[in-house]
């Protein structure tokens, strides 16, 4: 620590917001204290009523689903009769799909471990806290770096024949380059131009996770061979 940190004085005079107060806060702490022009509402009724409505909507929707669709129940468990394919619950089918491409230690331990680790470090990684739009600084160094990482990932996943990861990787990189200079482009490109690097990475992950889960759920039949959903994958 080098000396006393610089302090900000925050003041509010709006009677709807807070009583008049002056507070000294360190500039690097809570952004909340910098919002001094906010309107406040009574929690009861405004928030409580909304919460009750939310509760009712969810319970009614679930009840309707429970009336319309029955939970599956197959024959009694039989260790001697292996169904083909034997599928895990849907939220693990992405992982099971990975097993098709990678050795079990990679698909079952390494990749899920990396995913959990990446999720945990999100709020502690500087880039997630400070990143501006990806091409905000022109991108003389960004462009070759993205191209190199994309090529490396494509070759790596392609070598295992894992196209559900390799192809979205290419597509994501394509979208990233389409965003370059998008500030002057059409609506879609302007939207893309605002996306930061951490957001690109998360979007890449979500697309792949969704794709793997959908393939595992709907497109895998006996022997984990590719089948169409209408020929009995489910």
């Amino acid at each position: 620590m080098s000396g006393v940190p610089e302090l900000h004085a925050v003041e509010s005079t709006d009677p709807l917001a807070v009583p008049r107060r002056v507070a000294l806060v360190r500039p690097d702490t809570r952004p909340t204290v910098r919002r001094n022009d906010e309107r406040y509402m009574m929690t009861f009724p405004h928030l409580i009523v909304r919460e009750v409505i939310l509760f009712q909507v969810v319970v009614i929707a679930l009840s309707l689903a429970a009336i319309a669709f029955d939970a599956p129940l197959e024959g009694i468990a039989n260790p001697l009769e292996t169904p083909n394919p034997a599928k895990a619950p849907w939220y693990f089918l992405g992982l099971q799909e990975l097993l098709h491409y990678f050795p079990p230690i990679v698909a079952g331990v390494l990749l899920p471990g990396l995913v959990v680790l990446s999720l945990v470090v999100i709020p502690y990684a500087r880039i997630n806290l400070t990143a501006g739009p990806l091409w905000a600084r022109g991108g003389k160094r960004t462009a070759p770096a993205i191209a190199a990482v994309t090529a490396a990932l494509f070759v790596l996943f392609g070598a295992f024949g894992c196209w559900p990861i390799a192809i979205p990787t290419l597509l994501t990189a394509g979208a990233m380059f389409a965003a370059r200079g998008g500030v002057e482009g059409g609506r879609l490109r302007r939207l893309l131009a605002r996306v930061t690097l951490p957001e690109w990475i998360m979007t890449w992950f979500v697309v792949i996770a969704t794709l793997l889960t959908v393939i595992g759920t709907f497109f895998r039949g006996p022997g984990w061979a590719f089948v169409w959903p209408w020929s009995g994958a489910i």
Binding site: R30, V58, A77, N128
Partner: protein
């Protein structure tokens, strides 16, 4: 019609017993509305006033709320299901048949538990994405994000341990596939699998262990982390919506 009802309601609210339970009057003044929040054990996780912006649908899409409501539905239906369930082979499977064909509304109960479980996993995942894209994990909410990840993993394990309990083919082989994956972890994989299953294969022991995990261990862990999660939202100044803060690099027009 309403005149008489109002008077009965007023008489009830004025009675000594009612006033001993709820110490404030009708919530028709801001004072009583405040008292309603901070004199109530369950409501006092809320502040008396909330930022107007946080009430907007697009602020959070209520995704954490949907996850929470699903978990309440799951606890309620789960307790009822426990009355009809024996974690033993083959009685567990027979109990499913009983629920489906004998118990009044048993099928409805089981359906509700099943679909609420799917909804909870799905809504928790969407909630995580919402928080990420809104950058709501930034200081001071870093640790609450981590608590959220723990809750997501506990939710997945809750769902997964529940998957075995019907003891049908779907349950048995779904769990066999998953626990075979655990085996691949270096050094400890085999031991973890043995600990989880109470043996080397999915058997009656595994059913009992999954039952205890599903009905006691994981729900307790879930409620503990959930308490921390919700308490910290309050401590960090309420739910965080889309970034419009002055220090968000994406909003260059801000001062």
């Amino acid at each position: 019609m309403s005149a008489e009802r109002t008077s009965i309601a007023d008489w009830l609210r004025g009675s000594a017993v009612y006033r001993s339970i709820v110490r404030h009057g009708t919530a028709d003044t801001n004072r009583n509305r405040s008292l309603m929040i901070f004199e109530n054990l369950f409501l006092h996780v809320h502040p008396v006033k909330v930022r107007e912006k946080t009430l907007r649908f697009s602020h959070t899409y209520w995704l954490g709320g949907v996850t929470l409501v699903s978990s309440i539905v799951l606890i309620a239906t789960g307790i009822l299901l426990m009355f009809y369930y024996h974690p033993s082979v083959p009685q567990a499977y027979r109990d499913m048949k009983e629920l489906n064909y004998v118990v009044d509304n048993g099928l409805f109960l089981r359906n509700l538990h099943r679909w609420a479980a799917h909804l909870m996993v799905f809504a928790a995942f969407l909630h995580m994405l919402r928080v990420f894209y809104h950058r709501a994990y930034r200081p001071p909410r870093q640790f609450n994000w981590v608590v959220g990840i723990v809750l997501l993993i506990v939710t997945l394990f809750l769902s997964y341990t529940g998957y075995l309990l019907p003891w049908d083919q779907l349950a048995f082989w779904g769990v066999s596939v998953g626990t075979n994956m655990a085996k691949e972890a270096p050094l400890v994989g085999e031991k973890i699998r043995f600990l989880l299953l109470g043996g080397n294969v999915v058997s009656e022991n595994a059913l009992l262990r999954f039952y205890v995990l599903h009905c006691v261990v994981l729900p307790v862990a879930f409620l503990l982390f959930l308490s921390v999660h919700i308490w910290r939202i309050r401590k960090d100044g309420g739910v965080q919506g889309p970034p419009t803060d002055v220090d968000d690099p994406r909003h260059e027009e801000a001062p």
